[in-house]
Symmetry: C2
Subunit: 420 residues, 2 copies
Amino acid sequence: MAKRNAFYAQSGGVTAVINVSACAVIETARRNRSRIGKIYAGRNGIIGALTEDLIDTSKEPLRAITALKHTPAGAFGSCRYQLASIEKDRSQYQRLIDVFRAHDIGYFFYNGGNDSADTCLKVSQMSALMGYPITAVHVPKTVDNDLPITDCCPGFGSVAKYVATSMREAAFDVASMAKTSTRVFVLEVMGRHAGWITAAVGLAADEATPIPLVLLFPEIRFDEAKFLAEVDARVRKFGYCCVGVSEGLLNAEGKLMAEAGTKDAFGHAQLGGVGPLIASRVKEKLGQKYHWAVADYLQRAARHLASKTDVQHSYAVGKAAVELALAGHNAVMPTIVRTSDKPYRWKIGMSPLDQVANVEKKLPANYISADGFGITRAARAYLEPLVRGEDYPPYRNGLPHYTRLQNVAVRKKLTAEFKL
Amino acid sequence: MAKRNAFYAQSGGVTAVINVSACAVIETARRNRSRIGKIYAGRNGIIGALTEDLIDTSKEPLRAITALKHTPAGAFGSCRYQLASIEKDRSQYQRLIDVFRAHDIGYFFYNGGNDSADTCLKVSQMSALMGYPITAVHVPKTVDNDLPITDCCPGFGSVAKYVATSMREAAFDVASMAKTSTRVFVLEVMGRHAGWITAAVGLAADEATPIPLVLLFPEIRFDEAKFLAEVDARVRKFGYCCVGVSEGLLNAEGKLMAEAGTKDAFGHAQLGGVGPLIASRVKEKLGQKYHWAVADYLQRAARHLASKTDVQHSYAVGKAAVELALAGHNAVMPTIVRTSDKPYRWKIGMSPLDQVANVEKKLPANYISADGFGITRAARAYLEPLVRGEDYPPYRNGLPHYTRLQNVAVRKKLTAEFKL
């Protein structure tokens, strides 16, 4: 088979470990020089391909590529950009083919979540529908953990470790203050459509470290009276209560609490998220002093607290993506297959991409406790292995030392510009 | 000198390392058994003394005391409670004397910030004014870093490390997303009256890791037009911008932005803090997509990311407090004395408590850059040593393993109850 170049890009919300997959793709491709020539990265995902804005990863020193293993976020830039179907807009695909042909790109590795899997699937279809030979493999990544088939998604384990650790630490703080001050603490976490991250907050409490915890899942519509009764009961019993709430919590009408809420004096929508909203209800109705935190990007960028298991998964799927492509698989995604809970064992599997794209995996009903405010043993058995192990970045002068690539542009070969 | 018992308590907002000082006080007192008998801890600060709710620390196994070194928050409970002056309310002091006499307490160690130093000073005055012999030493602690005389306050270095690390990580995230999504990220941090923590956010950027950063200090009144122009300029030049804002930011009239703001449709005060408020201005006026985070308790409880220097300071002041008391010093506080910036060198000093109580040390003007939105070299030289070094807690099943003491109550000897 002729030697051809590869394209790799990062898409959607970034994670603490997506660069680990980038490193794996590049290192594995470099180890297969007889089959893969240059590895080009798209600057800002598929946009880099459409605008012929390619990065020559061979210009990066080896140590910079290695340092991707401990550097959060997307080293090549990401994007939120979805391709229309080939039937609807052939011009975008023609442009991709022009760019790929100009740079002899035969391998397409796309690192993302649901939407990005769809992009990757569409690119894979160019082979059959438009006659351009390309092998497209999706590299899974999403903190939301909502890709189907794979047991878990690279990126999730580290967010899970972050939110569980943060809630545990905050709980110790609130417990100290509860006598004369704060009694209720609310932490808002990501995961708009599926409660995986909310469930992970539940790991903060365990047998050795009991914490009065109430979780508000996006899967369960908010029942204010029931919620307040739960919080009240815990404050009475333990002196304090911690609440983990999904940014995607829905009200009784199925509308996002954070949006359905209130407007300020100027008529602007409520500035705060659902975290402060819930906290204010506790104050108004129960009269308890509260504090709230919204971790936002901090939770998904926290490479300093990454899960070692997650780092290993992230590397494995990047490596497997290249190996699957070299083995001739098109329109597939490497998956994490769990073979045992205790001891935790896993291996790499493979899924056709059309079973992955645009499918959202919700939190199973049996992971949520009967009262709707906690997690079950089954959820723990699933979640615990994913947060296990530490993988600290190097520090310089007291702060994590993260790498920035040079991201040297490949000389453009096309004269035509492309308007996004 | 006769052997007498000691009282130790934690007061005010807790930190990631206040328990390190607790450990030091207990370990040092235990090493001086010929002079100090039992070490009693107050449950919830001075309240424990007033209500005769004492904890017998000798009931804790050695490993639990040692584990305090890596456990955040206040292991004995804290309080926000200030004593009136002896002139104003002698009954509180009479009660303290009754409790202390009943339990033969001759040493009083109070671990806190400004307000707590005032409490400690008042207790020390009981000797002279009310004839009860007691030696009172304050153990400094506050994330706000606003105690005078001491070069820095135990607790601050770890918050500084947390906010600088978090902002650096979030900045990498925003830089990845800026092409098609978030361009401005706002992180709200603690420090209502002094901008020490806001200044520490500035460490996120350095020569090796430049980040377009705008800081909003509580010392400088908010000038919206000037602020938006700064953010706009950075987005134009770098593609994105990060903003660190103090929870105590004041508007042009000198009122707290977070409170002076808006009311919601029900007439309630704005739920969000100043972080979301500032972020919404960026959206309205500049049209940029934003994200914001409010770390709240997460920043001061983050033992998983404590500064090793801070841990060492915290231990040293706890140890010194006992040694000063044994040397006969009353109404004093051990201080951190910096003897060299590069290499960083420090030693323990001592300050009379009346020079510390109720005095707030603001950020020096020469630590804020001329434009009012950044930190100077002088600030860096001061801050950098304080975040240096890592001191990881042990992990179990992927999460930090923090200790909980048994906190066995000492049998009460007084029949009278005391109403707070």
